[in-house]
């Protein structure tokens, strides 16, 4: 999911290139990109391209891993056994996506330990959406429908990303995400046919998840200064605002089908353009959540830190056992 990372400033960029890159090398690289060739891990690439991809892919992986938490919050309370196993399978998929993406990032020369270390220290970011709480069962439906729906909008263009390992990972991930979105929508369809309490639960969840879902596409194009290079490198194919518009256009009719009222007084269909116009996003809220001050930022990170600390003795034991086995084999 989650390409918000592209819009964060590359801290190394300003300090100049550590490695000499000739104009010829850069031009030849751009030629390959323009010819729609896939860049593979062993190929030469500009350092900034490599760093941008490491940042984006690792952030994507972190988002999958942190994203297990808000949904995990309802696993033990899922209202039927069928819903319980579907949710569990979805969360398992997310752990799998995380592993897969960490492996893709490792091809760029960064270790998983280092990436996980950056997540745990708070240095690395993950998608802002997972810093919101899941308060009712309807939130699980809303996440599948809206959050996975937004993720798919983001990720389909990434299947054509110029970096081969990431593009191929996205093909597989998108297939599973599309199943996730359907299960979320299915939860809500069931609620929409339910009793008044279920319908109210669904509207409440929608009210809380609508705007944060729109924020998933990142800052508006006018404020997204770091996208241009990513577009030129064909890491990013479609701008934040274009993707957001596509999402709104696709989602509003689905909301109507569910009998939901979109929590936006300014929302209206422009008959000329065929697109929905919508109100201004609360960008201060977005910046606050990105800065670590969302409702669950501290909780999400603390849970990951605790799991890592609690597991230290287990990892050490596995390491010690492997060393003993190696010594025994050598003896």
């Amino acid at each position: 999911m989650y390409t918000q990372g592209l819009d964060q400033k590359d801290k190394h960029a300003a300090s100049g290139q550590a490695i000499a890159e000739s104009a010829e090398q850069l031009a030849a690289f751009q030629e390959r990109i323009d010819a729609e060739e896939k860049i593979e891990a062993k190929d030469w690439m500009p350092e900034a391209y490599r760093r941008t991809l490491i940042r984006q892919i690792s952030q994507h992986a972190h988002s999958e891993i942190i994203g297990m938490q808000p949904e995990g919050n309802w696993l033990t309370r899922a209202p039927s056994l069928k819903r319980k196993v579907i949710l569990l399978a979805k969360i398992q998929d997310e752990a799998g996506h995380g592993l897969y993406l960490y492996a893709a990032a490792e091809t760029l020369g960064v270790s998983r330990d280092q990436m996980v270390g950056d997540l745990l220290s708070g240095k690395a970011k993950y998608s802002s959406i997972f810093n919101y709480p899941t308060l009712t069962w309807a939130d699980i439906g809303a996440i599948g429908w809206l959050v996975d729906g937004a993720a798919i909008m983001n990720q389909i263009p990434l299947c054509r990303c110029s970096f081969g390992p990431y593009a191929r990972a996205m093909v597989r991930v998108c297939k599973e995400e599309s199943f996730h979105q359907r299960q979320g929508f299915d939860i809500l369809v069931t609620l929409s046919r339910g009793n008044d309490a279920q319908k109210a639960m669904m509207q409440d969840a929608f009210d809380r998840w609508w705007w944060p879902s729109l924020m998933m596409f990142g800052p508006s194009d006018t404020d997204s200064k770091h996208s241009a290079q990513s577009m030129a490198w064909k890491i990013k194919r479609i701008s934040n605002d274009e993707l957001r518009q596509k999402f709104v256009d696709a989602t509003v009719p689905q909301a109507e089908f569910l009998g939901l009222k979109v929590p936006d007084e300014d929302l209206r269909l422009n008959a000329k353009t065929g697109h929905y116009e919508f109100g201004e996003i609360d960008w201060q809220e977005f910046l606050d959540v990105i800065a670590g001050n969302g409702p669950c930022n501290k909780q999400r990170l603390a849970k990951r830190q605790k799991a890592h600390a609690d597991g230290a003795w287990v990892r050490e034991a596995a390491q010690a056992y492997a060393s003993k086995q190696a010594a025994r084999a050598a003896a």
Binding site: P79, S80, L81, A95, L99, T190, R193, G311, Y321, K324
Partner: protein, 252 residues
């Protein structure tokens, strides 16, 4: 108790074992020592809850009163659940949960093996499917027990304590009551005495390889098979059943 009643009770116990263990496992779904272990834990829990669904459905069909898997899981009270006490024990640390799985799966795999040859309608097929899953769980957990036992001094001491603590809950697995006896006699169900011999042999072998000590004979806890549970079981059920209890009759 006639044979049919005993069989329904027996299938429900198997289902309760699978569900309650699966429910405990999903409490720690995003809290493993490594991402790979989180995947494994989720995967194993899926197997158990899947088994519970098949078994509850089977029990409902045998009973013939229209009760669904969700009726059994969410609308029964504490005293009606007949899972083993071992399986409802809180997760504790990684070693505690691991030992719980290892001791149960070492038993369950032989129980399922016996059930694949039973004459009860539907049950042999479910057992044949479940045993494939449980065999690889057991392999995974045996390997971890060996790693922790033969790892560091700390891991050795911790997992030995886990084993010592859990041991009191193992006796209940092998004490045949009327339900076990009727299913053994009327449906060619597993002989718990024979299962106990195999269990002890397998457990001892892994424990030895893990350089751990087998706990000595001691007083054994019991009551799970009779619906008398540990105090924390009520909280597990309250959490699991909250939606069905709060919104009676709703469809999800």
């Amino acid at each position: 108790m006639n044979a049919e009643q005993a069989l329904i009770a027996y299938v429900l116990r198997l289902a309760d074992n699978a569900l309650i263990l699966g429910q405990r496992m999903i409490e720690v779904v995003a809290a493993g020592p490594e991402l790979e272990e989180e995947l494994a834990n989720a995967n194993f829990a899926l197997d158990f809850i899947g088994q519970a669904r098949m078994l509850y459905t089977c029990a409902g069909e045998l009973e013939g009163q229209g009760r669904s898997e969700d009726d059994f899981a969410f609308m029964r009270d504490e005293r009606e659940f007949q899972n083993l006490l071992l399986l409802e024990q809180p997760n504790g640390h990684f070693g505690d949960a691991l030992v719980r799985q290892f001791l149960f799966e070492s038993f369950y795999v032989h129980l399922l093996d016996g059930l694949t040859r039973c004459s009860a309608p539907g049950l042999a097929e479910i057992a044949a499917r479940a045993i494939k899953e449980v065999k690889y769980h057991l392999r995974h957990h045996s390997q971890w027990l060996i790693r922790l036992g033969d790892g560091t001094e700390l891991s050795h001491a911790r997992v030995q304590a886990s084993l010592d603590d859990a041991w009191q809950y193992t006796g209940e697995m092998f004490v045949a009551d009327a339900v076990d006896t009727v299913v053994h006699e009327s449906f060619a169900g597993p002989d718990l005495e024979a299962v106990a011999v195999l269990w002890r042999r397998d457990v001892a072998a892994v424990v030895e390889q893990a350089t751990l000590a087998l706990p000595g004979d001691q007083a054994m806890a019991s009551g799970g098979k009779d619906g008398r549970h540990s105090e924390h079981f009520g909280f597990l059920l309250a959490e699991m059943q909250t939606m069905q209890r709060s919104f009676p009759g709703a469809t999800w």
